[in-house]
């Protein structure tokens, strides 16, 4: 369903660059949201920024950033090492451990940055569905913000 009122008023908020091609909320058609170059840059704030930060931490492999070895989680590395397509329990455990680290990193930052709006402050991230098949995995996650917002989204995994 198309959204008729999309706000671009960022007053009182800190903006981040959006690395995803955000869907045009005013359109009701199927849109690609994959990462690609060449499209105009966009800002993001609010829950979209929260989801993006969570995803960046979750999907950055530990020790992949020179000089910052503790940033990120082991999620992507472990998944790429191979998980049985039928072993959803193992996949959910791998996700839970990594998600805990990502949420902790954000909450640690939030604890000392009191001016963060409530809808940008994460409370928890819950795995609501998991679909495994040969060569692909689909994680449906719901993030709960301090404002009470629950944001379901799909973790964009590279093939």
């Amino acid at each position: 369903m198309a959204v008729s009122l999309v706000s671009s008023n960022y007053t009182g908020r800190k903006r981040d660059l959006s690395v995803f091609h955000s869907p045009d909320a005013s359109l009701a058609t199927t849109q690609s949201i994959g990462i690609s170059f060449g499209a105009p840059s966009q800002f993001c704030a609010g829950v979209q920024k929260l989801v993006q930060a969570y995803a960046i931490i979750l999907l950055t492999n530990l020790m992949s950033q020179p000089n910052y070895p503790e940033f990120g989680t082991s999620f992507l590395y472990t998944m790429q090492s191979g998980v049985s397509p039928v072993d959803t329990l193992a996949a959910s455990q791998i996700f839970s451990l990594a998600s805990y680290d990502a949420v902790s990193a954000l909450r640690t930052y939030q604890a000392t940055n009191y001016d963060t709006p409530a809808d940008e402050r994460i409370v928890r991230a819950t795995l609501t569905n998991i679909v495994l098949s040969a060569g692909s995995a689909l994680f449906e996650v719901t993030i709960v913000a301090e404002s009470g917002d629950t944001i379901p989204f799909l973790v964009p995994l590279p093939k």
């Binding site: 908020r13 800190k14 993006q52 969570y54 931490i57 020179p66 910052y68």
Partner: protein, 536 residues
């Protein structure tokens, strides 16, 4: 101080946040992950490189470190044409007495130990003892006296520093004593020369500051720098000039009022007292009475005559009995001179002369007016003549001023300290009291002009060692050899203060403390420590 990479990220994030309040820099943000972290990697390396290269930082870190001779400070000092003094080694002669004539050969480095002080000295060069009267190169002659035999070796202290300066007569053991089967004893032949410890980083930094600020002779600091750079072992000075009460030389005129342009420069050019020997011809003036004169260049500006002995009996201990010297002065022909009005003005300067009468019953008896060679030993401060010449030279002198260099007036100190040990099994060796003696030696001999000698400071030094307590009072005695030839004795148990006696030329601005390890009385080193430590 260097920064961690996390410090740099936080610093950049703070900068962005403060200048662009709507930019997100938290973890997981694109700005932080793609921009700040990359920028921090470059910033951090450059920041730390600049910090390391910072001279101020280098000095700070060097001084904050545990070492006192950082090569980093040496490199910085070289930028200011300043180099660290590596110190001066004490040198001296040791007289070895044997029970029978023997020819020994010693390698350079053969070691002697002063057992009560724990000081080690080594032979300076390969030496062979010769029985012939005309020894060859690398040989020393073996003398015979009183049924014993002796020879004299040149030695140097194992380390640079003032603590190694010992008095004439101090006893030694040879580290490899079994080699000399006829060994009887080894003792210092004359006082050892003065030594200086290597400069610490703090001293070197101070030297840089001084070099930057003072290089001319207008100020006491400028004179100090020039002397310090030119004369090894130079310690300190005090300048008494116009409007100083000590400057009486400028008032010796009919009206008794000060004529400006004069200054007396009192210098200490060695840590401990030094002794020099000169051979002089004396004339017999009456039965058993002889007289000799010390010229101004014999032992320049000497402090005190300690010993006179016949040249033919130089192995004798003690001294012939001599009357108080009659001091005078004379100028150097053809040289620029200072204005001197009396022997008191000239005392301890390069112009000082003295006539000494002493008692000597020679055998066989010689007629009156006969002459004979004697050894005269006196304590002195080195380089007095050279310093004066520098201040009088065309290159350095202030044409409108008359700077007179004087060896500082000496106040010779002796101490008696009673230490109470913690455990019955403690000994002087186990407590390393040898080092305590060196500490006290260095403390007293490095007091500055105007300083007082406090018993409490000596007690503090004692408590650096594992003792129960120091018995009070500590008896401190000082003898000031005044420029007018008289002496002042100070005794106290709390603090020794240099008195102000202008008529004798003694004030805190003209006088400094000296202490020697052993006491010399009547020309002989006594078995009494000047730094007397008793352990009970």
């Amino acid at each position: 101080m260097s920064e961690t990479i996390q410090d740099t990220v936080d610093r950049l994030a703070t900068f962005v946040t403060q200048n662009y309040t709507d930019v997100e820099t938290g973890p997981g943000s694109v700005i932080r992950e793609l921009l700040l972290k990359l920028a921090a990697t470059l910033h951090n390396e450059q920041y730390n490189l600049i910090t390391t290269l910072s001279q101020g930082m280098s000095i700070q870190s060097a001084l904050a470190g545990q070492t006192s001779n950082s090569p980093l400070v040496d490199q910085i000092a070289s930028n200011y044409n300043t180099v660290r003094s590596n110190g001066t080694y004490v040198k001296g002669k040791i007289k070895i007495t044997l029970s029978s004539p023997s020819t020994y050969s010693f390698r350079a480095g053969y070691a002697f130990l002063q057992p009560s002080l724990g000081l080690q000295y080594t032979l300076t060069s390969d030496t062979r003892v010769s029985l012939t009267a005309v020894p060859a190169n690398g040989e020393v002659q073996l003398y015979e006296y009183g049924g014993f035999y002796y020879f004299i070796l040149d030695v140097i202290a194992a380390e640079a520093g003032p603590a190694y300066q010992v008095s004439s007569g101090a006893t030694f053991t040879a580290v490899n004593q079994n080699y000399m089967t006829s060994f009887v004893k080894a003792e210092a032949y004359g006082n050892f020369s003065s030594g200086i410890a290597p400069e610490t980083d703090l001293q070197l930094v101070q030297k840089i500051k001084n070099n930057l600020g003072n290089s001319r002779f207008e100020s006491a600091g400028g004179i100090y720098n020039n002397f310090r750079n030119s004369f090894s072992g130079f310690q300190s000075l005090s300048v008494c000039g116009a409007n100083d009460a000590e400057m009486v030389r400028s008032k010796q005129n009919l009206l008794g009022i000060s004529s400006f342009g004069k200054a007396d420069v009192y210098v200490r050019s060695s840590v401990g007292p030094m002794t020099a020997m000169v051979k002089k011809t004396a004339h017999k003036v009456a039965d058993n009475t002889w007289s000799l004169s010390l010229n101004n260049n014999d032992i320049t500006g000497f402090h005190t005559i300690k010993r006179i002995v016949p040249l033919s009996a130089n192995s004798l201990g003690g001294t012939l009995l001599f009357a108080p010297p009659v001091f005078g002065y004379s100028f150097y022909v053809g040289q620029r001179k200072n204005e001197i009005n009396s022997y008191i003005d000239a005392r301890f300067t390069k112009y000082q002369t003295a006539a000494v009468t002493f008692t000597y019953a020679e055998t066989p008896t010689l007629p009156v007016n006969s002459s004979m060679e004697f050894e005269v030993h006196a304590t002195y401060q080195p380089n007095i003549s050279e310093m004066q010449d520098m201040l009088l030279s065309d290159e350095y002198r202030l044409a409108c001023a008359d700077y007179l260099v004087k060896a500082v007036v000496p106040c010779e100190i002796s101490l008696n300290i009673n230490l109470v040990k913690k455990r019955a099994t403690d000994t002087a060796d186990s407590l390393n009291l040898q080092q305590l003696k060196k500490d006290i030696f260095t403390y007293v001999n490095t007091l500055q002009f105007g300083d007082e000698l406090h018993a409490s400071n000596i007690v503090n030094l004692c408590h650096n060692y594992d003792i129960k307590r120091v018995d009070l009072p500590i008896t401190m005695t000082g003898t000031i050899n005044c420029p007018d030839g008289s002496s002042i004795t100070l005794t106290d148990t709390d603090v020794l203060t240099i008195p102000t006696k202008l008529e004798k030329g003694v004030t805190p601005k003209t006088t400094l403390y000296f202490i020697d390890y052993y006491r010399i009385e009547n020309g002989a080193t006594q078995p009494i420590d000047n730094i007397g430590l008793r352990l009970t």
